[in-house]
Amino acid sequence: MRPCTRIWLLLIALSGVTYGIGEAGLGGKAVVATLLAISLVKSQLVAGFFMGLRRTSFMWRAIMGGYLVVVCGMIGVAYWLGAVR
């Protein structure tokens, strides 16, 4: 099986997990953290393997990785703020 096919199946599986959590109607800090982590992993997989950033210089990977970490992290912060309020 081609590596990209494996990545594709992995992405499908992870999306299934996200959907499952949504169907179960779960909430709370741990669930939010899990969902954000899954999103981060998925988007990194797309960026690295599909967009081909994995074979580029550090700068490109850092820009994309940094962007994803900041966005997912800040979303996490916002949810945490919403939970403590």
Partner: protein
Amino acid sequence: MSDTQTLALPRNPPGDLAIWFFIFAELLAFGIFFLAYAFARAKNVELFNQSQLLLNRESGMVNTLVLITSSYFVVRAVAAIREGFSQVCARWLLGAIGLGGVFVAVKLAEFHAKFAAGISLHTNTFYMFYLSLTIFHFMHVLMGMVILGFVAVKARRGGYSADSHTGVETGASYWHMVDLVWLILFPLVYVIR
């Protein structure tokens, strides 16, 4: 910064460098929009949680699978052209565009249901964000389909080769960006609560 010489890098990402500036600009716009959503929610948790339950999570999930798969098709298209198979490349691209069409159809059905229920930008803050974000993304899908369409037509005519196929990679990179944005948008707006 716009040629390899000044960057002094081992490798640039695939496709025309200009598209990457564009991609990062778009990602930045989406990123700030996502954060605006998240922080607006922090002030209004109840409203967001209630409204979120009324979204059609099934169609969101279907569209996630559709976009991931279409992105995968595009990867296969690039792989094909790297080996010089123009027609194979074109077929994968057409498949990806077809899936884009499925996304559009599902999304339109979803929008139709919402509009029929009388929901608009003014219903509440949640729906303002839901509609803005998804419509904004929707327009990117349409734009991506147009780009892939041009690339597919050119590939069909044998316009690319194993040595020269920047155009395919450029279109592919844009399409992956559209997919990547959705991978954050879907959990954020439809699931996380």
